[in-house]
Amino acid sequence: MKKYNYKYFWIFTIVISCILFCAFIFKIKIKQKFIKIGLCVQLSGPGAELGLGVRNGARLAVDKINANGGVAGKKIILLVKDDQGKPTIAKQKDLELIKQGVVAIIGHITSSVSIAAVPIANKHKTVLLSPTTSTPALKNKDDYFFRINTISEDEAKFLANFAFNHLKLNRIGIIWDKKNVYYSKYYAKSFTQAFNKLGGNVLFSIGYDKPNSINLSLEKITPQFKIKNILFICSDIDLLTFIKSKFRYISYILASGWPMTPTLTINKHLLENKNIFFASSTPPKKNQKEIMFEKSYKKTYGFSPVFSAVKGYDAVRLIVKALQINPNNLKKGLLKIKNFPGIQYKITFNKYGDIKTPTYIYQIKNGHFIHIKYDK
């Protein structure tokens, strides 16, 4: 068969051509490896704005890092999942991400979701870095859960203090979101404890599933107690819904940092002539980095960032930093980080993966969140 050796040459040529063709089509970079980072936040449904902000901020960070050559020559891929703000879906999505080989998961937004997801992260020894979760339920636990938001307890106490001492409010009602029970209930509890301690009276503390569902009971409640001050522990849209509908005539509205989004400012006309105060860890003065970030964000997405965008941005950078410190053990890497230059503040994790930041009081006026100087 020696005579027909050129037959193999033909076959060889054809096979090589096919391989080259395929390689061209799919741009297979054989030796290139990627670092996969998972991002699982609420991207759809009401209250998705924080999650969208986190996603957009994180993508900005990834773009910037990849543009600078990636991590040790490896590009970062951000795998984005929508947990729809639902714990069951979040767990499922987290597992999917872990299966896809992510080094860490950035998520989730609300405390309830985060609490549900932590066991999975621990089980798979995958860091779960939450940009916004502030529930005290996860504090002081040596697990794979990290967060770059301060624990809500302090915020609630600070707000109670501000309401009692600064606003001179004696009586207050609390409406909290049942969907984010681990946040809002804990927040309400902390606030109640602090407010009662100061001598105030929390007239009621009601959880809701949907803003409209409490309408009837409130109507009953309101004339009876003549409640004029209410603390809302809810998302921006829920807050707008409340204000628009049943609570149009309330004098003082208190809220946590959760609803401090552009959605409120866009619909500022609804909030006109309302005294609305927020307790937030967002620093009042924008530093240069934050301004730059906002510019870049706006240029990319066409609108201004929500506060969670900064946290999403920082979350990616923190993971990258931790990888640089300890590529094999991200948890140890994160714990070793000291005074990480975040956009808004320096970040240092305690041994449980929590951070502590000061709380500031803001009032929305004319579509702007104005810092109210208050020192207890």
């Binding site: 005579k3 027909y4 037959k7 033909w10 054809i14 051509s17 089509i25 799919f26 741009k27 991207l43 759809s44 449904g45 998705a48 704005e49 969208l52 957009n56 993508r59 990834v62 773009d63 951000l78 984005v80 929508d82 921006d236 849209i237 707008l240 819904t241 628009k244 552009p262 959605t263 400012t265 866009i266 619909n267 500022k268 006309h269 609804l270 990319t300 997405y301 066409g302 609108f303 201004s304 579509g367």
Partner: protein, 846 residues
């Protein structure tokens, strides 16, 4: 079916693979590529058209909205706006809230009432543009995601319409629902998805700004891109329409899959065709080509016999339908037949050539190099003990005895091959049986194309015979030269002898007269003079014999007596130291010869012996006579031997040459043994000699004769003539004429003399009636004797003619009858002899 074991199926395979298989593969690849290209192109074109529709639709919505907004102005002027419903205003269903703003962007009119205007700064990039489109935002008025258009183009007011993005999107969604498994994304310039066939992209407010293809699309009007989206590869086609980007994504598999189907179908067809062609071509090749060719090769393979091959080929020719093969076979048969003829001819030629080569009386050989034979012929092979059939044999120098010859041959061959020049040489070789052969060798170089000597062709011709003949020829030439010498001497001596014999004849005639007239003179003196005349005559005869000019005056006589007489002479005259011994056979031996000549011949031998033995003591001369029969012929063998020193070898060849002598000047003439040789030859005998250092023996063979029937009569008493006769004698020598006249007239005969031919003829014509005999001398002045003879014989035949001449070798002497001559007498003749002849003639005449 295909015979897979058959060699030539490879041919079919090769043919099918090369001519159908590879082209099929190439065609498939090209076809697939073309189809792929066409499909992508088609997809892009379709996409473009659909995008256009989508764009038109979006624009239509937006423009319609704008148009309706502008209509509002009319209604607004009439202040009747509040009375109208949205449907009455004809705004699109998704245009929910309308805000009419003054130039400071404060709402003057809000529809429906109590709706809150969104914060323009936040929802628009630049709300002061002529027409501004907002980003998606949460509208508290609608309690859901909303989208706004701001029309600043009017003079007094600006119009803001807030639309339910869900409704807007649902409308677009209808358009973007694709039949194919493709994804359609409509995004604004920032990558915010405003419509998509993947509805969840809207749910999660996806922004595709981070994707590479979108970044590229921002720079180009349209793109075709291959990239990863949602962890899968996609063909991406994007188009920019100012405010919107429409992007279509399709999985390569959805484009490739139909191609694969096509490829499979074409492959199947091609494979089927290939198999069909393969089988049919193979069958065709097997039946038409391979089988007959195989058979053909088998035929050619099995035998070397051309005739057998031709026979089988003829069979195959009748079977095959393969035209070309048929032609090949026919041609082959033709050539094979030709070849047979050529072969036979060649064989014959070869045999002829071999026969010629081997039977030519010469050596023929090729030299491949100076030391190696190529072809050699039989003669040379036999000579050198080599095999005539083998090639490349080394030259067996050992068999050549002489080292000198070996050296010569080696040098010669080297020279031949180096210089390339023809060599001609003669060389002696010794054959196996010791015979010496002279061989003339020619070595001729044969050159190759480069002019180098490739081979040499050589011939060796046995020229021993030629050489010997040449030698003989040289001897003959020498003999001829000698003969010429002798001829000259002969002519000289015969002339002398003629005159001398005339002189003697005259002396003799006068002595007769004197004897008759003077009775008182001592008779002994006459006898002694007669003896001297006889000796003189004998000398003349010897001289003439030496030149063959003696007449054959032979007689039969007894040799025993003759030898005894010679012995007597020898014994009395030779010195006493020489002992003469003789052994003569008792039986009487006769011989026909001339006693005088033979005596001279024998004495010449014995005289030579005597001269050698003169000083030797115990010298001997032996003479032996014996009869011997050789070849039924009786010979007398005469041996004369001496015990002298023998004849030196250098002289042995010259012994019988005339004028050759070893004796001192004046002592020998050099004619002795020459005369002996000539005399023996004259007697039809042979003479030879054996010599060594102990002596020399001459052996003479003479033909033996029978006893004679009569004996010689005594000539002392001649009778008188019984009758008278008239004789005309024509003789120029007057002495002879007178002598003869006197003698014959004494006897009673009448003699008329004439001194020359003219006178003789005159007398003849005058007296011819009275004449009986004419005695004619040949050497006559005026008219030669022969002419006279002719005229006489022509004139009459009655007269007898006797010719007397000193020219013993004259033709008349040899055959007198031919010339009508009755007798011939050689001068000098005895008068009695003449008388006897006349008597005899007259007796006959009587």
């Amino acid at each position: 079916m295909i015979n897979n074991k058959h060699k030539l199926t490879h041919l079919a395979k090769k043919f099918v693979i090369q001519k159908i298989g590879y082209p099929s593969i190439i065609i498939s690849i090209i076809l697939t590529s073309l189809l792929g290209y066409a499909e992508i192109k088609y997809w892009i074109n379709i996409s473009k058209q659909q995008n256009k529709i989508v764009n038109q639709q979006i624009n239509m919505f937006l423009n319609l909205t704008l148009k309706q907004l502008r209509k509002l102005e009319v209604f607004f002027e009439s202040r009747s706006l509040n009375d109208l419903t949205i449907s009455q205003i004809s705004l699109p269903s998704f245009a929910d809230n309308i805000f009419i703003l003054n130039k400071k962007y404060h709402p003057i009119y809000v529809y429906p009432k109590n709706q809150k205007i969104p914060y323009l700064n936040l929802i628009f990039d630049n709300f002061k543009k002529k027409v501004a489109y907002s980003r998606l935002y949460y509208s508290i008025n609608l309690n859901k995601l909303a989208f706004a258009i701001l029309d600043n183009a009017r003079a007094k007011y600006s119009y803001l319409v807030e639309m339910d993005i869900d409704v807007f999107q649902k409308n677009i969604q209808k358009l973007v629902k694709t039949q194919k498994k493709e994804i359609l994304i409509v995004a604004d310039n920032y990558g915010n998805v405003i419509a998509s066939s993947l509805s969840h992209l809207l749910d999660i407010q996806e922004n595709i700004n981070y994707l590479n293809f979108f970044k590229k699309l921002k720079k180009n009007k349209n793109i075709f891109y291959i990239s990863i989206f949602n962890s899968s590869p996609y063909f991406i086609f994007g188009e920019s329409f100012g405010h919107y980007q429409i992007i279509r994504l399709i999985k390569p598999i959805d484009i490739i899959l139909p191609l694969i189907y096509i490829l499979l179908v074409t492959s199947f067809i091609l494979i089927s065709l290939n198999v069909y062609f393969g089988i049919s071509i193979n069958n065709f090749i097997y039946k038409t080509i391979s089988k007959p060719i195989n058979r053909f090769s088998e035929i050619l393979d099995t035998s070397l016999d051309n005739k057998f091959i031709v026979k089988n080929l003829n069979k195959l020719k009748s079977e095959t339908k393969f035209k070309e093969l048929d032609i090949v076979i026919r041609k082959l048969i033709y050539y094979l037949n030709q070849l047979n003829i050529f072969e036979e001819t060649l064989k014959e030629k070869k045999q002829d050539l071999e026969f010629l080569l081997n039977n030519l009386p010469m050596w023929i050989w090729y030299l491949n190099d100076p030391n190696t034979f190529g072809i050699i012929n039989k003669n040379l092979a036999n000579f050198l003990n080599l095999d005539v059939h083998s090639y490349n044999q080394k030259i067996p120098f050992d068999t050549l005895s002489s080292p000198k010859i070996i050296e010569e041959i080696k040098r010669e061959n080297k020279y031949l091959f180096e210089k390339g020049k023809t060599i001609k040489v003669k060389r002696w070789f010794t054959t196996k049986n010791g015979q010496k052969k002279l061989i003339a060798i020619t070595k001729q170089p044969i050159f190759d194309e480069k002019g180098q000597v490739k081979q040499a062709i050589c011939f060796g011709l046995d020229i021993t015979e030629n050489y010997l003949q040449e030698e003989k020829r040289k001897q003959l030439e020498e003999q001829l030269r000698r003969m010429q010498k002798m001829e000259a001497i002969g002519t000289l001596s015969s002339g002398i002898a003629h005159h001398f014999s005339n002189l003697l004849q005259a002396i003799y005639s006068y002595l007769n007269i004197l004897k008759r007239s003077q009775d008182n003179i001592d008779k002994n003196i006459f006898e002694k003079i007669y003896a001297q005349i006889k000796k003189g005559k004998s000398l003349v005869q010897s001289l003439l014999a030496a030149t063959h000019k003696t007449p054959e005056e032979f007689e039969i006589f007894e040799l025993n007596k003759f030898i005894q007489q010679i012995l007597d002479i020898i014994q009395s005259s030779y010195p006493k130291n020489i002992k003469i011994k003789s052994y003569i056979e008792q039986t009487k031996l006769y011989i026909n010869g001339n006693q005088g000549l033979l005596e001279q011949a024998i004495l010449n031998i014995t005289n030579n012996a005597k001269d050698v033995l003169k000083t030797k003591s115990q010298a001997e001369i032996n003479i032996t006579i014996a009869s011997e029969t050789i070849n039924k012929q009786n010979y007398i063998r005469i041996e004369i031997s001496d015990n002298g020193p023998g004849i030196p070898s250098k002289y042995q060849n010259k012994v019988f040459e005339p004028f050759f002598t070893t004796k001192d000047i004046g002592k020998g003439t050099g004619l002795g043994l020459y005369l002996t040789y000539q005399i023996i030859k004259m007697h039809k005998g042979k003479i030879n000699f054996i010599t060594n250092n102990k002596g020399t023996t001459f052996i003479i063979y003479l033909p033996q004769n029978n006893c004679p029937s009569y004996s010689k009569t005594n000539n002392s008493s001649l009778p008188e003539a019984p009758f008278s006769a008239t004789i005309l004698m024509i003789e120029d020598e007057e002495l002879i004429l007178e002598g003869v006249k006197d003698f014959l007239e004494d006897k009673g005969l009448k003699v008329i003399g004439a001194k020359d031919g003219e006178q003789g003829l005159e007398l003849f014509y005058k007296l011819h009636n009275k004449l009986d005999i004419v005695i004619l001398d040949l050497g006559l002045p005026s008219i030669p004797g022969k002419e006279v003879l002719t005229k006489i014989t022509q004139y009459t035949s009655n007269i007898k003619i006797i010719v007397c001449s000193g020219y013993h070798h004259h033709e008349i002497a040899k055959n007198p009858q031919k010339f009508k001559v009755s007798a011939f007498l050689s001068k000098p003749y005895e008068l009695e002899d003449l008388y006897k002849v006349i008597l005899k003639i007259l007796e006959v005449k009587q």
